[in-house]
Every structure is written in structure tokens, then in C-alpha cells.
């Protein structure tokens, strides 16, 4: 009988855990709960999401913090990088606090559409495909791509399509991956089994260093850092593979928020703030 009681007590404890678990909060740096905005929503009909953000006094920005020098986590667990400094500068201009939510790059657009986050600042390019599902601010930085090869690579590239036929990697869900699939694989220049996708850019970099693939196509800035740290060769820096600059993504149809962000980015550009945080994060001038 006693043992039965203990077993049943286990069931009860399990149930209690369930009801009590609302009190459990993850011990994470910066990432936390997505605030309820119901109360604010009614008070801010005119300005839409912008009104909600101001009412809440906080903007929730999604990013994918494994992409130095744009966004990463330092040894103290703080969000650092160009995008993170930009995020803080934008929030300051908006006059609100900032909460950064880290998630996989692939999840960002879905989270934005479902209202889990207010904006995405993750070195995201404002491509026409993405523009169909979300809205973008004006670009805060132009995009250039880099092809990386092993230190002893003999491959010579003049333009993007010279990569035809070589095994090539890109990061999942990125514009570069799309370019590989359409301009190389789709055009019949590279067989499909020679195009590889990586969850993170550094995995691709390691495969280049280990000779598993010939080339890696990623954004120029992380490419420079990656080449430096892994001893890879930058074969080509080009805009022949890019179609759009980097911009802040916001939910579709939030015109008031877009107007405000456009104004802020223009202002940060004009007063030299963007140049200053580029330099602070060792980003090369791509203009």
C-alpha cells in the first residue's frame, strides 16, 4: 500500500510541476518573454505596431546570434556586434527599451509574422521574395558577398558564375544559398549534389578548411573574419551575387513603423552613427 501511495504521489507531483511551471523562467541573457500587448493594442490603433511598441516601452528584436561581426554572444553572455549596436541606437531614437530574442535564422520571419517579435535585425537582406511576406526599412548597409577557398586554393574567380562546377556551400535560408540554387544549380552550371547548405557559416568555413568543399559563399564581413580565424583565402568579393542591401524587417503593412524606422536609419546615417558603429565592430566600408 505504501509503495502505491508513493507512486501516486509521483503523479501528483508531476501535475503540480505543470501548474507551477509558469513561475519557471529561463536564466538567459537578454532573451525572455514576449510581452503581452493586448492592452496597448487598443490604445494604438492609428500607429499600429509602432504605437504598441511605444505603449509597451520596449521593442522586441529578433536576431540569430551566431553571425559575427554582425551579431554574436560574447563571453559574458551579452549580445554584441554591428546589428546589436544598431538595434540599441534605433531603440534609443524610438525612446524605448530593447529586448533581444535569439532564434534560428529560419524561424525569424515566422516569429515576425506571428507577432512574437516586433522587428528582425539580423543582417537580413531585403530581397523581393522576403518583401512579399514582410516589410523592410530602407537599407542600413549595402551587401557584398565573398567566396572563400582553402589557403592553397588555385581557383580563380572574376565573377560569381565562375564558381560553376566547384562544390560550394552556403548558409541555410540565406540569400547566398538562394543564389547558389538558382544561378548555379538551377542554371545547370553546378550539379545539385555539389551544392551544400550549412546551419551556420562557421561549419561551412571548417569544411572548406578541411577540403570537404571547394568554396563557401557568404556575406563579405563574416567571410573576412572567418578567413582570418581559419586561415582561408578570400577568392572574390563581389556584388554580382547580391540583389539587396541589409534592412530591418517588420511585419507586413506596418507603415507607421516603417516610416519611423526609415527616418531613424536616415538620421543615424547622416549623423555618422552608423559609420561609427561600423568602425567599432571592425566592419569594412563597402560603399
Amino acid at each position: 500500500m505504501r509503495k502505491q501511495t508513493v507512486l501516486w504521489a509521483l503523479v501528483v507531483i508531476a501535475a503540480l510541476l505543470l501548474s507551477g511551471c509558469t513561475a519557471v523562467q529561463p536564466a538567459t541573457g537578454g532573451a525572455g518573454q514576449t510581452g503581452s500587448a493586448d492592452a496597448a493594442a487598443t490604445a494604438a490603433v492609428d500607429e499600429g505596431l509602432l504605437g504598441t511598441i511605444k505603449e509597451r516601452g520596449k521593442i522586441i528584436v529578433g536576431t540569430s546570434a551566431d553571425y559575427p561581426p554582425y551579431e554574436s554572444i560574447d563571453a559574458e553572455g551579452k549580445y554584441v556586434g554591428f546589428d546589436m549596436d544598431l538595434t540599441r541606437a534605433v531603440a534609443e531614437k524610438l525612446g524605448v527599451e530593447v529586448e533581444i530574442q535569439d532564434m534560428p535564422f529560419d524561424s525569424l520571419i515566422a516569429a515576425l509574422q506571428e507577432g512574437k517579435i516586433d522587428a528582425v535585425i539580423a543582417a537580413m537582406q531585403s530581397t523581393p521574395e522576403r518583401d512579399e511576406t514582410v516589410d523592410f526599412s530602407i537599407d542600413y548597409r549595402p551587401t557584398k558577398d565573398a567566396f572563400l577557398g582553402a589557403a592553397d586554393s588555385a581557383i580563380e574567380l572574376k565573377t560569381g558564375t565562375d564558381a560553376a562546377g566547384y562544390s560550394i556551400g552556403a548558409q541555410t535560408g540565406t540569400v547566398q544559398e538562394g543564389w547558389v540554387q538558382s544561378a548555379l544549380v538551377g542554371a545547370g552550371l553546378t550539379p545539385a549534389d555539389k551544392a551544400f547548405s550549412y546551419e551556420r557559416a562557421d561549419q561551412g568555413g571548417l569544411d572548406v578548411a578541411n577540403g570537404r568543399i571547394d568554396l563557401l559563399l557568404i556575406d563579405a564581413e563574416p567571410a573576412i573574419a572567418l578567413a582570418d580565424q581559419l586561415g582561408l583565402k578570400i577568392l572574390l568579393i563581389t556584388d554580382s551575387t547580391t540583389t539587396a542591401g541589409k534592412a530591418i524587417a517588420i511585419p507586413d503593412g506596418e507603415s507607421a513603423l516603417k516610416a519611423e524606422l526609415d527616418k531613424i536609419i536616415q538620421g543615424l546615417n547622416d549623423d555618422g552613427t552608423i559609420l561609427q558603429i561600423e568602425q567599432a565592430n571592425n566592419l569594412p566600408d563597402l560603399n
Binding site: L17, V24, P26, Q33, T34, P104, K116, Q229
Partner: protein, 216 residues
């Protein structure tokens, strides 16, 4: 930096994600336990429609990759009720684990000799009483070895909640990897921590198993 020092700082950095990993696992196992026992009982002793419902839950949830279940539950259900990513991720993982646990408990329920039910009924217990006091206490004991295995699987599946933005231990290893470009150090350390967690879980459960073993 010498290797040992790097290893030490990496462990400290990853351990900050330990709380998330452990609490996600515990919540998911608890949710899964309640769901699993309930569904298994319905499946073995429930009326035909209830048994069919429990079977459908088990088949569908087990057919869908866990990460997809988490994603759907977070974005669909959390759009109705406002849940934190942490809670949504943990509950979704529990919902997925419940399907696997229901199969464990179903097997255990079926291996309790049918005579037990007959005897319980013969001394005047209702079916519910018999299930509660005679069948389940035996079945839960029989389920323990299989359940221990599920516990280690859920521990590792807890890494999947990052899909909805919960930075657990493995994500912290990714931070280290992308910052230092030393994946072997980052993921090796993570592997070690998961190994320790799994060994602890296995140890505790084997003690529980011994304590509540059926004398046959």
C-alpha cells in the same frame, strides 16, 4: 589561452544554459507522463471512440518530427494563449513525449496479467478503482525501464526548443563555436555535459527501479 583554461571557461559558459535544459526536460517529462499514462489507459481500457482518439494522438504525434511539433504548437497555440517561448517549447516537447510515453505505458498495461482485473472486479472494485489501485501501480513499475530510456531521449530533444528561441545548453555551445571557431572544444564540452546528465538520470532511475521492483 592554454587548453585547460579554455575548457574551464567553456564549461562555465555552457552551465548557464543548464537550468534551461534541465527545466525544459523535467517539464516535458512530467507533461508527457501525465499525457502518456492517460492516453495508454484510454487506449487499453477506454471506450472505442476514446481508444481511437488516444491511438490517433500517438500515431500522428509520433509521425511528425518533434521539432515540427514544437514549431506548430508555438506559433499556432501561442498565438491564442500568450505563452513564453520557454513554456511553449517545454509544453510542446511534453506533448510530443506523451505520445512515446503512451506506447511505453500501453505495453506495460497490457503485460499486467488479465487475471488481476478479473480478481479486482470479483472482490467488488469498479473498473476505475481496479485500474487505479491494481493495474496502474503494477504497470508503472513495469514501464520504468522503458521510461528511463525515454527520459534520456527527452533530455537530448530539449535541444530542439531553440527552434522557437529558447537558448538552451547546445545553443550556448553554438555561441562559443561561432565566437571562437573552435567547434571541437564547444561541442565536445557540450557532449561531456550531456553525458553527465544522462548518467545521472540513468543512475537515479535505476535506483527507483530497484526500489519499486515487482517481486515475481
Amino acid at each position: 589561452m592554454p587548453f585547460l583554461e579554455k575548457f574551464y571557461t567553456t564549461i562555465l559558459f555552457l552551465l548557464e544554459g543548464l537550468g534551461v535544459t534541465v527545466s525544459v526536460t523535467v517539464i516535458a517529462l512530467a507533461v508527457g507522463f501525465v499525457l502518456g499514462v492517460l492516453m495508454a489507459v484510454l487506449r487499453v481500457y477506454g471506450s472505442r471512440p476514446l481508444a481511437a482518439l488516444a491511438a490517433a494522438y500517438s500515431v500522428i504525434v509520433r509521425a511528425v518530427p518533434v521539432v515540427v511539433t514544437i514549431f506548430i504548437l508555438y506559433f499556432v497555440i501561442a498565438s491564442i494563449i500568450n505563452l513564453t517561448p520557454f513554456l511553449a517549447g517545454a509544453l510542446a516537447l511534453g506533448f510530443a513525449s506523451g505520445a512515446y510515453q503512451s506506447e511505453i505505458f500501453r505495453g506495460a498495461l497490457q503485460s499486467v496479467a488479465p487475471g488481476q482485473m478479473t480478481a479486482a472486479r470479483a472482490i467488488g472494485m469498479s473498473r476505475v478503482q481496479a485500474i487505479r489501485h491494481i493495474i496502474l501501480p503494477q504497470a508503472v513499475r513495469l514501464a520504468l525501464p522503458g521510461w528511463g530510456n525515454e527520459a534520456t531521449l527527452v533530455l537530448k530533444d530539449s535541444t530542439l526548443v531553440f527552434a522557437v528561441g529558447v537558448p538552451e545548453m547546445l545553443r550556448r555551445a553554438q555561441y562559443v563555436s561561432s565566437r571562437t571557431l573552435e567547434p571541437f572544444l564547444a561541442f565536445g564540452t557540450a557532449a561531456l555535459l550531456y553525458l553527465v546528465l544522462t548518467m545521472l538520470t540513468t543512475f537515479v532511475l535505476s535506483r527507483v527501479e530497484q526500489r519499486y521492483r515487482l517481486l515475481t
